[in-house]
Symmetry: C2
Subunit: 198 residues, 2 copies
Amino acid sequence: MPKIVDHDQRREQLAEAAWRVIRRDGVEGASVRSVADEAGMSLGSLRHYFTTQSELLEFSMRLVSERVNKRIQNMTYSGNPRQDIEAIIGELVPLDEERLAECEVWLAFVGSALAHPKLRELSEEVHDTLYAGFRRIVDSLIQIGMARPETDPHLEAMRLHALVDGLVVHGVTRKQTMSPEDIRQVIVYHLDRMAGEG
Amino acid sequence: MPKIVDHDQRREQLAEAAWRVIRRDGVEGASVRSVADEAGMSLGSLRHYFTTQSELLEFSMRLVSERVNKRIQNMTYSGNPRQDIEAIIGELVPLDEERLAECEVWLAFVGSALAHPKLRELSEEVHDTLYAGFRRIVDSLIQIGMARPETDPHLEAMRLHALVDGLVVHGVTRKQTMSPEDIRQVIVYHLDRMAGEG
């Protein structure tokens, strides 16, 4: 079914054009017209893929989360659980240009989600999926003895989740003082503290 | 100089009108015209206080941070350092309707800051002030023996800062599952873990 594949690919290309517009001009700048221009496509052709701006934005926001999930699913695990957990968390924070772009676009979407019910629903859905992922990480750390015995799994998962999202905000808004190396160090420090290491 | 006081008060009232518009329609909805409407003022009168939308937005964003600072400065300390630190951190997160409003508006501003150089500068300035505050908190906790001996003050302050900003994001975007009580519990849990309490 080559036509369907083309259709999906074209939608992803348009979403990536929307990301570029959002990084430059914010979510408010990402009209169907400006995204069509950015993608070098006519407005009429874009409307073949997305009928409304809201549909385009929702797809573009969802694609950020799908890209991150796909990278995590395709990861080659080292077999060292602590190293693998660091690598999984590393996929969520701005450690390189690709992840910085995703985090910038994500933060812009979250900032406008209050005023866009569809984006808000999506950010809630992704929040819950992420919480579940952090909960699995905490449960694994407890199981393999890399979390202190007094660990409360629910509070610990909420804490790790908030810490990682805070690092996303800081990596995006304060690049000069929160470098990728700083972000990585805070994650390592946190996992060390969770394990009770000195 | 009653005229100047009136002028400042009117600017704050307009900024509060901008907050209401932003919570409802996002930063992109906060034009000088919509804010004048919300404040029940003519566009001409608003322009007496703010010449451009950018000036209005910058002032409105700065006011969020000033309100929080003022509350912290006016706090009555209990003399119990741990309780006072919890209270200071509590002023930054959405524990009641006033702080939720501030956090929602702040997140909307941070989400649009990428595309607005003035808002970005301001968010960087506030980030640095907050980091310095968290660093003082960590230094105090070390001094009074409420942080484990292996605490790295810089990493610990970056971690606390990221955790608190993450809780702001979660309290705003996921009200149903991150209630004020959840947020408070994560902060208490974190300070307990920092102290090494079981």
